[in-house]
Point group: C2
Chain length 329, copies 2
Amino acid sequence: MPSRPPRRATLEDVARAAGVSRSTASRVIAGYGAASETARDRVVAAATQLGYAPDPAARALATGAGVRLVVAVAGAVPTVLHDPYVDRVVRAVAEVCARRDVGVALEWLPLHAPARLRQLAEDRGVRGVLMINTTELILEAVPTALEGRAVSIGIGARNVPSFDVDNGGAGRTIVEHLLASGRRRIAMISGPEWMPCTRRPVTAYHEVMRAAGLPSRLVPGDFTAGGGQAAMLTILDRWPDTDAVFANSDAMALGVLAVLRRRGIDVPGDIAVAGFDDVPFAALSAPTLTTASHPVEEIATAAAMAVLDRAWVPPATAYPSELILRESA
Amino acid sequence: MPSRPPRRATLEDVARAAGVSRSTASRVIAGYGAASETARDRVVAAATQLGYAPDPAARALATGAGVRLVVAVAGAVPTVLHDPYVDRVVRAVAEVCARRDVGVALEWLPLHAPARLRQLAEDRGVRGVLMINTTELILEAVPTALEGRAVSIGIGARNVPSFDVDNGGAGRTIVEHLLASGRRRIAMISGPEWMPCTRRPVTAYHEVMRAAGLPSRLVPGDFTAGGGQAAMLTILDRWPDTDAVFANSDAMALGVLAVLRRRGIDVPGDIAVAGFDDVPFAALSAPTLTTASHPVEEIATAAAMAVLDRAWVPPATAYPSELILRESA
DNA sequence: TTGTATGCGTTATCAC
DNA sequence: GTGATAACGCATACAA
């Protein structure tokens, strides 16, 4: 038997080996269209025998589908890309893409730059767009040409389905847990005010506190450890009798722990601390961090599959968050 | 002025607008080949005016270049993909790819599966392969068809250039630092023995210790916090008088800190602890962690650019690691 | 159900 | 220096 040709088998080869036309082979491989049982069998046999794999570029060219999925992270500065959360999303998406012969590209989406979205919509190489941390402003600027192939991890819009964790519910659960464990003077450190993802947890916090007849103590943070430290200093300054802190990210919560440790304030004895995200090291801090875990990979995977498979998806899908009880609260 | 056509401008359009042939336009856009000054100018003008962007799929089809970059993570189990380090690499690569109209795909590379490598080599969609945590066995199985478009983050081989941090130097620096600060009974927690990336730090450790006339105390770990805890328990059991521990990953080092904290052993008073990687939370632990930082993104970016640009690269490039002095050692 | 013919947008080969 | 023309591999109306 002759050694396999160095050239990769093409659809033409498969068709010839199966004794059918290229069209028939194409239909069988693609899965739709008509084909007799026998034709189907022979094509499949020939394909596996030849180790055939369709050329994504040729397919994309013929269908006009595009060969890459763009993960676009909205933010004021390009450095929003450098974030462990983004890393997790990109990795999960890249894993899904591998099975679809597609690739991921990552880029920054300036907050007020509809031009970039138009470019993405027109770029033949773009199969779809997955947006992160987007805002209403950006969502409004999504061209209709992107309809059906743009999804959002975070808030959505009429033409952009959303995949997101139930932030509100998660925030509510945490604050209620703090209340249930006897805390009354509970402060919250939120994310940046312009970020839509901070709104629901903040609202939940206010609502739960008001329902309990307690005043709110809200300080904005920036999702970083440094921001958490600064916010905690503010809290200690403004409300020295605070007995619990809900930080809207683990990074901030870890910053909070650092401050309290330096001040010799016992956690959770004097002040309970709860985070948000369940990063790997939340289980290793001293004390270990009570937080809420989010199925980030699951969300990212679902979002990616929605755009890759062009499947219909409900306008908004909320994923449940899980309260992770540890030592700090 | 008529509204811009819904159809994206093609090379044909540019050529027509510039009053030249498609061939000429192609040369100008691509950058190589001959073209007169005037032709060049007119084409460029037309292209920008029309907002032309080449179709990656068509280009890939014509050149046979492939449309995605595969990041292949070697390991015994598929879960090797779920690692913050992999996340960082993929993210950096995805960022580079975005500027080249290419995408990244992420997949697991079984330790003894040359078949997958052959498939990747033959897959027309694959522009190149970037391997992580690879072994000699795998490198030997890299087909010649992948020559020039396969690179490795970690060890390399004749036909696979390597981009890696200077693990040996980093390990040496850390152990020497521990020695210089008066420690003598220094233990090391390494990574899994089969991983090539653990060899050089371990060798460096042995060498430095031997040069100082001190015995080695080596315990293998698995790069996880849990593994670090287990290894530390072993160390305390086998060598109760240990006064310093060098863990070959921050995750393990944080596990070590947790154990010592539970045991009431003071760090760095009783035992100094050093990590490796400089993960974000190394700066937030109690005590903060002395470690070595690695330019992971820089390495990944260089590796990706090497395969995307098909540039010649030296067979091995070692990036310097930086000692980050904090409280723990 | 099957095959023919054509188009997708680009690059590369050669004549000119 | 320039421009026809032929690939590149696949999908899909349309005719058979």
